[in-house]
């Protein structure tokens, strides 16, 4: 596939890095020089070759390292993966969706052979080969959702749909931007979005729910979310806040370029066929400021977005106290030139 998997860590010595290829394909989330909440959904159709939109589930150079990190998180806290009993069918739907997509999009790495309900799955990068019976959990080492999400980058939640609402009732959540599956499981759509500032008043969640209740099988959609993270830590969980929260007080003009990371979530939404549930993959991409400013357009734009962001949003995203330092650093890379519309660095 033209690249190798990195040997790197997302904790302790933090050896995570983006190659020039990974920087160039980073999903920069700002299509203009300012930011405010919106529903901002678009069809999740294959995008530019080489981009993170090329395939349904992007596999990149961080794959193996992210899967190792997930395993470490689960060993410390098994409650990061939960599925209420009625969500098992949705787990099988998700397993099928991911296996079919990866086998189709990355045939050199993944194979799926189906004979009726007798399935044979091969994941070469992780050196996994599994024969199992579809819809029979006793033939897998984990439940179907846990099994496949231990082999797939990004967090996942599964939402049951009933009573004109969506209910978060299963998930694998180890790379989250400060929210807890264990706390949210069983909540309705407005309940689990309750902490988000400003968006409720704008009616964003009413509109988003209305849209998602009508989401159709075969027509997935996607959107971005973003925040800022100190150090390339995937597991910024409330459970571990004492470990990472204080690092926000360690940012200085000297280290901001190395330690401050733009954290982007490429979120996709899929109607699942058998369960009628909705799968919500939340794929996290990290890029340190020093890497990001190698793209002049992004450097200019990020400076303007961070500088002008509503203070409530900066506080919610956890960087209000570091905003001045971040703006000072980024301003070195903003010559005031206009930026072109859209995300792409070269357009």
């Amino acid at each position: 596939m033209g690249f190798e998997f990195n040997t790197e860590t997302f904790r302790n010595d933090f050896t995570f890095r983006n190659s020039p290829r990974a920087i160039a394909r980073f999903p920069f989330p700002f299509d203009r020089d300012d930011y405010m909440y919106s529903v901002n959904m678009e069809p999740h159709v294959p995008g530019r070759p080489g981009s993170v939109f090329e395939h349904a589930f992007d596999v990149d150079e961080h794959y193996l390292a992210e899967m190792r990190d997930r395993d470490l998180v689960l060993k410390e806290d098994p409650l990061r993966c939960q599925s209420l009993p009625h969500m098992e069918m949705a787990g099988w739907d998700l397993l099928e969706l991911i296996m079919e997509s990866k086998a189709r999009d990355y045939p050199d790495w993944f194979e799926l052979h189906r004979q009726g309900n007798k399935w044979h799955w091969i994941n070469k990068p992780m050196q996994i080969e599994q024969k199992f019976t579809f819809l029979d959990s006793s033939t897998l080492p984990y439940g179907p959702m846990e099994y496949i999400t231990r082999q797939t980058q990004g967090d996942f939640t599964l939402q049951d749909q009933r009573d004109e609402n969506l209910w978060i009732e299963a998930g694998m959540v180890t790379t989250q931007a400060d929210w807890s599956l264990d706390f949210d499981i069983g909540m309705g759509f407005h309940e689990w979005h309750a902490p988000v500032p400003l968006a409720h008043e704008k009616g964003v969640f009413d509109r988003a729910l209305k849209f998602l209740l009508k989401l159709q099988h075969g027509a997935p959609v996607r959107r971005f979310n973003w925040t800022m993270t100190v150090d390339p830590l995937l597991d910024t969980s409330p459970e571990n806040y004492p470990k990472w929260g204080p690092t926000r007080a360690e940012i200085t003009p000297e280290n901001v370029g190395q330690r401050m990371h733009l954290r982007v979530e490429l979120q996709t939404l899929w109607r699942l066929p058998r369960s009628n549930a909705i799968a919500f993959p939340i794929r996290c991409y990290l890029i340190k400021f020093d890497e990001l400013v190698t793209q002049p357009k992004w450097a200019r734009r990020l400076h303007r977005v961070v500088r002008d962001l509503h203070p409530d949003l900066a506080a919610y995203k956890g960087f209000l106290r570091n905003r001045d330092t971040m703006v000072a650093y980024l301003s070195q890379y903003d010559d005031g030139a206009p930026t072109s519309p859209g995300w792409w660095p070269e357009d």
């Binding site: 529903v39 959904m41 678009e42 069809p43 009625h86 969500m87 069918m89 819809l135 049951d160 749909q161 009933r162 009573d163 509109r207 209305k210 849209f211 209740l213 009508k214 159709q216 099988h217 075969g218 027509a219 959609v221 066929p273 058998r274 369960s275 009628n276």
Partner: protein, 321 residues
């Protein structure tokens, strides 16, 4: 809401006359590939080219959701209808190429139910056939009560009895048999969910009885398809782009705008997402709102329209686009 859904090119594989009123149609993918799996209770919208008139009718899928070799629907002939069922009965034959939507489920089983109690009237049996086919191998508990006018018109009675034996209860109107609803509802275990599909009178009766007996609202489910909106051609003025466009009978305002080269926003094209919401500059007439987006007040005020699904009748409609 199925307007604008992703579509599947299919070939009619089989047409079976089930009884005097009902025909069953089997669709397979024209490219020979597998159909998408679906969930019991789902429907598809069948796209018909009825001699130049485009008809898009929803029909419940009645085949086993696990069977990806094809989909089956049953269509009851409605002599007084708008013509979709007559077209299906008179003109759809094996080998014909058609288009259907991806499955959409507005009538799913509640996955948490301890038991599913299904009440069907007439052609309302069809969603329960896919529901039972899905629930049976999962070991879920269910029971069907199926009211038919006569045994001759009782589609699939024998098939259902063979498959589900004592879980199927048949009531024949012309024999004077009727569901003893109060007794039935009063003897259900806690955690039972009730589902009804059939004529409007039956749905109203079941819902009212269940409500009166204290069944929680979220345990009572029903499905009733409304006929899609009738389309008459009309004229629309576009203020921002300075164009006047004609919206054809089988065209949405959105499609007419696109055909005229006007760049209009959209996302779902089904009246649900809100992306195409457009301000009405002037309305001398009546907007037929078909969307699930605008509030009742907004609809009544005629100041906003969803051009992907809504239509107009009257002298003049001017949109801010």
């Amino acid at each position: 809401m199925s307007v604008g859904a992703p579509r599947i090119d299919v070939t009619v594989a089989e047409v079976v006359q089930v009884n005097d009123l009902i025909k069953r149609f089997r669709f397979v993918r024209t490219d020979g590939g597998p159909m998408p799996t679906f969930s019991g209770g789902a429907h598809v919208v069948v796209d018909m080219d009825d001699h130049g008139t485009r008809r898009m009718n929803p029909y419940s899928l009645m085949s086993d959701p696990g069977d990806v070799s094809g989909y089956e629907i049953s269509v009851r002939r409605d002599e007084a209808g708008r013509g979709g069922s007559l077209y299906m009965h008179r003109h759809v034959t094996p080998g014909m190429a058609m288009q259907i939507s991806y499955p959409v489920n507005l009538f799913p089983a509640d996955a948490r139910a301890k038991k599913h109690l299904f009440l069907a009237g007439g052609i309302g049996i069809t969603p329960f056939m896919s529901l039972m086919a899905q629930l049976q191998p999962m070991g879920q508990r269910f029971e069907l009560h199926y009211a038919v006018r006569s045994l001759a018109l009782g589609a699939y009675v024998d098939r259902l009895r063979d498959a589900y034996a004592e879980r199927v209860h048949i009531y024949v109107d012309e024999k004077g048999e009727a569901i003893d609803l109060k007794s039935l509802l009063s003897t259900q275990p806690l955690g039972t969910h009730l589902y009804v599909c059939g004529p409007k009178g039956m749905i109203d009766w079941v819902k009212a009885t269940a409500t009166g007996m204290g069944w929680p609202k979220n345990t009572v489910h029903s499905e009733e398809f409304l006929a899609p909106p009738v389309g008459q051609p009309f004229q629309v003025e576009l203020a921002a782009s300075g164009k006047s466009i004609k919206v054809g009978a089988a065209q949405s305002i959105l499609e007419a705008m696109e055909a005229a080269g006007v760049d209009a926003p959209y996302l779902c094209r089904g009246g649900a997402c809100g992306q195409c919401e457009t301000a009405v500059v002037r309305c001398d007439g009546h907007i037929h709102h078909h969307d699930h987006w605008l509030s009742d007040d907004e609809k009544a005020s005629q100041t906003k329209i969803m051009p992907c699904v809504s239509r107009f009748e009257g002298k003049a409609l001017v949109l801010d686009r």
